[in-house]
């Protein structure tokens, strides 16, 4: 028995070592870097220990504050819309008996397009002077809008792009789950006189909660990492209206070459996101057990 356990552990070892090398070591390095400042002189890097100074700077950093706030707002609004639309489309698709494959293919098309191309397509569509959206508005006698250059509209415009891009992801996951729901309980419910709404409210929704939770958490994780759409569409502006935390890290870490401070922002962001996701998961699980 002891020998069996030993061999089991031994066979796990390569995977554990690989995990440690690829995940833990970079994380430890990142945390260590966040307590230092790195300067280059005569081609030599000088690491100086600065204690918690990099972390103390966070609260006064306009871009960090705006980045966290906009990222949370972006993630919550975009993911909520994607979940509602994705679930709605999935429910409708399950009702279709003919051409289901066709609709499924059409609905998932946006997810197949790389983010950088999506950014370019929508930037053209949002263009104040040449964009198709403003052309249509003018055609019906409305005033053209500054979709990406106005502080009031820019974040909303980016959210629309993200919803268009990622709703298929929710659709796909939820459709797969809907198709596995047992048909017999629906038949039993209908025999007992349940309406369509009753079936949805008391059968589909409770049975779908695990799938909805997983999809929500997956999407939230991805939404917190949004970068390419912002980079192409607005560059974080105007002002700080579309500044998201990935972009702040990119600026501080790479463009400004503040590696220590950039590492501190990264560590703080990981902590904030982990807290939000844990809280969201617990809330959903609590709902599920109720």
């Amino acid at each position: 028995m002891r020998s069996q356990t030993f061999w089991r552990n031994l066979t796990l070892a390569p995977a554990l070592i690989l995990f440690a090398l690829l995940t833990l070591v970079p994380m430890i390095n990142l945390v260590a870097l966040s307590f230092h400042e790195v300067a280059w002189l005569n081609r030599i890097s000088n690491w100086s220990f600065v204690g918690l100074r990099n972390y103390a700077r966070l609260s006064g950093d306009t871009l960090f504050r705006a980045g966290i706030w906009n990222t949370v707002l972006f993630a919550v609004v975009a993911v909520a819309l994607q979940m509602i639309l994705g679930f709605g489309l999935a429910l409708m698709t399950t009702q279709i008996t003919r051409g289901r494959l066709f609709y499924r293919t059409i609905f998932i098309l946006p997810i197949l397009v790389p983010g950088i191309i999506i950014g370019a397509i929508w930037k053209l569509m949002y263009s104040y002077d040449f964009g198709v959206i403003n052309q249509v508005l003018m055609l019906v006698g409305l005033t053209p809008q500054d979709w990406l250059g106005s502080s009031q509209l820019a974040l909303l415009s980016v959210i629309v792009v993200d919803v268009w891009h990622w709703t298929p992801f929710c659709f796909l996951l939820l459709l797969a789950s809907l198709e596995t729901l047992p048909e017999d309980i629906y038949e039993a419910a209908r025999t007992d006189g349940a309406t369509g709404w009753h079936c949805f409210r008391y059968l589909t929704l409770p049975l779908m909660i695990p799938a909805l939770t997983v999809t929500f958490v997956f999407r939230m994780i991805l939404a917190f990492k949004v970068f390419d759409e912002i980079y192409l569409l607005t560059g974080g502006g105007p002002g700080t209206s579309t500044e998201v935390i990935s972009f702040t890290i990119y600026r501080r870490f790479f463009t400004e070459d503040q590696t220590g401070y950039g590492a501190a922002i990264s560590v703080a962001t990981i902590a904030v996101i982990a807290m939000i996701i844990i809280a969201a998961s617990r809330l959903t699980m609590k709902k599920e057990t109720e």
């Binding site: 081609r43 002077d129 500054d146 990406l148 250059g149 502080s151 105007p238 600026r251 790479f254």
Partner: protein, 441 residues
């Protein structure tokens, strides 16, 4: 040999002959890390000419602006740089000089000299490692200019003629002319580059700020780092910029990139732009609706001070961390590049040259090179925006605060006062003595 075999050998020989350079390769291949700018296609053609003439191979690693900077930093900090020439921007080259990453060119070849016809762009090619300052007298030659990227005024010559307008030398005159041409959304009096980026809106506003006597620091070269971004003079410069944007500018000035501004001119929607010379774009019928209609002048100034353009030029430096044969090969290319023939070919390929001799030659009288006179007139007054290694951090502040002021997200005075405090903090942390002015009320 079979018939097919003979045919294949013949085709291969023809192909080899056609691709063969005029001379045999005598240098190891060179890799240049460079950004994708409006002038890049011209540079690419000159590189092809060099390969054809010398047989030496040049590889170009082309990147977006910020991506090029990151690659350069990574390259010089590694054991051996994968790049032999770094094409560094005016905003960031000091960081490479200060950290000792760039090999003085005379250390590679003691006989190497900058061609007297080549501009030094506010002496940015000379660096004194002892004093850590740009200094033409005590510094050694660290780079060769590659492109004279600085803003000049582009205006619609046909509309000027039709409306009897005169080329402006002050911002007030420009405002008046722009008002005449302004007919939105068909035509904007002026299109400005107000979006926040790496070195975007700051590059656009500095001509306004300097010509009103303002600035970011009092005297960087002289070591006076008093923050003057919230001085009354800087305020006046910004007020002029915003007045043009609000009254006769594009409705989305705060969201306009360099590409948007060029696009507005190329599609005939802008009466003026303040842009870097990219003449090939506007005179190419496949890319422009205003072929032959755009003319050029130095950026305007005020009654008290002539126009001062911020330098956004590009410098070619050779990193220290490459073997001697690669350094020699890189220098061979730069030696060739600064010659009269290469500079003329560079201009003919659609990119502004860095040679005074070419800019002031008979070429400037030809219609397709009509930008040359404006450029030659601008260079002597042009200034470096930064001569400090903290440029990237200061730029992050100015890009955000100028953009917020233009978009109206922050009142102008508040934006400038906030920027002053943030720049002060950056400089103090870097160990500079950095006095501040009283906040604007």
């Amino acid at each position: 040999m079979t018939f097919q075999g003979s045919m294949r050998a013949g085709v291969a020989a023809i192909a080899l002959f056609a691709a063969a350079p005029l001379a045999a390769q005598d240098q190891v291949p060179v890799t240049i890390v460079i950004n994708q700018s409006p002038w890049f296609p011209g540079f690419q053609k000159v590189v092809e000419l060099y390969t054809k003439e010398t047989g030496n191979t040049i590889n170009l690693d082309v990147n977006p602006f910020a991506g090029s900077l990151e690659k350069q930093r990574t390259a010089v900090r590694s054991e051996t740089s994968p790049f032999d020439i770094l094409v560094m921007n005016a905003g960031f080259f000091v960081e490479f000089y200060t950290s000792g990453f760039i090999q003085p060119l005379t250390d590679i070849d003691p006989d190497f000299k900058l061609d007297p016809a080549i501009y030094t762009f506010d002496n940015s090619v000379y660096w004194d490692p002892e004093t850590q300052q740009i200094n033409a007298q005590t510094g050694s030659l660290h780079s060769v200019p590659v492109n004279p990227f600085l803003p000049i005024l582009h205006y619609r010559a046909d509309l000027y003629e039709a409306n009897g307008l005169e080329v402006p030398t002050t911002w007030d005159q420009l405002y008046d002319n722009a008002r005449v041409l302004n007919d939105p959304p068909k035509m904007y009096g002026i299109s400005q580059r107000g979006q926040r980026g790496t070195f975007d809106v700051t590059f656009d506003v500095m001509a306004y700020v300097w010509s009103h006597g303002g600035g970011i620091f009092a005297d960087q070269k002289g070591g006076d780092f008093t923050v003057t971004i919230n001085s009354p003079e800087t305020l006046a410069g910004m007020e002029t910029y915003i007045r043009l944007a609000n009254d006769v500018g594009h409705p989305s000035t705060a969201g306009q990139t360099q590409t948007n501004v060029i696009q507005n001119m190329a599609t005939g929607r802008a009466g003026h732009i303040q842009g870097v010379p990219a003449p090939a774009l506007f005179d190419d019928p496949t890319q422009s609706a205003v072929v032959g209609l755009v003319n050029y002048a130095p950026v305007p100034g005020t009654q008290a001070m002539p126009g001062v353009a911020p330098l956004g030029h590009w410098l070619a430096g050779i990193p220290k961390n490459i073997p001697e044969d690669r350094q020699a090969s890189a220098l061979a290319f730069l030696t060739w590049f600064q010659g009269d023939e290469a500079q003329r070919a560079y201009a003919e390929a659609g990119s502004p040259p860095v040679s005074k001799a070419v800019l002031e030659s008979d070429m400037a009288q030809q219609p397709e090179y009509r930008y040359m006179t404006a450029l030659a007139d601008s260079i002597p007054n042009a200034r470096l925006t930064f001569v400090i290694p903290e440029a990237a951090q200061v730029l992050s502040v100015t890009e955000l605060r100028f953009n917020q002021a233009i978009s109206g997200e922050l009142p102008l005075k508040e934006a400038l006062n906030t920027a002053a405090q943030e720049i002060h903090d950056v400089m103090v942390q870097a160990g500079h003595d950095t006095p501040m002015l009283e906040p604007l009320q």
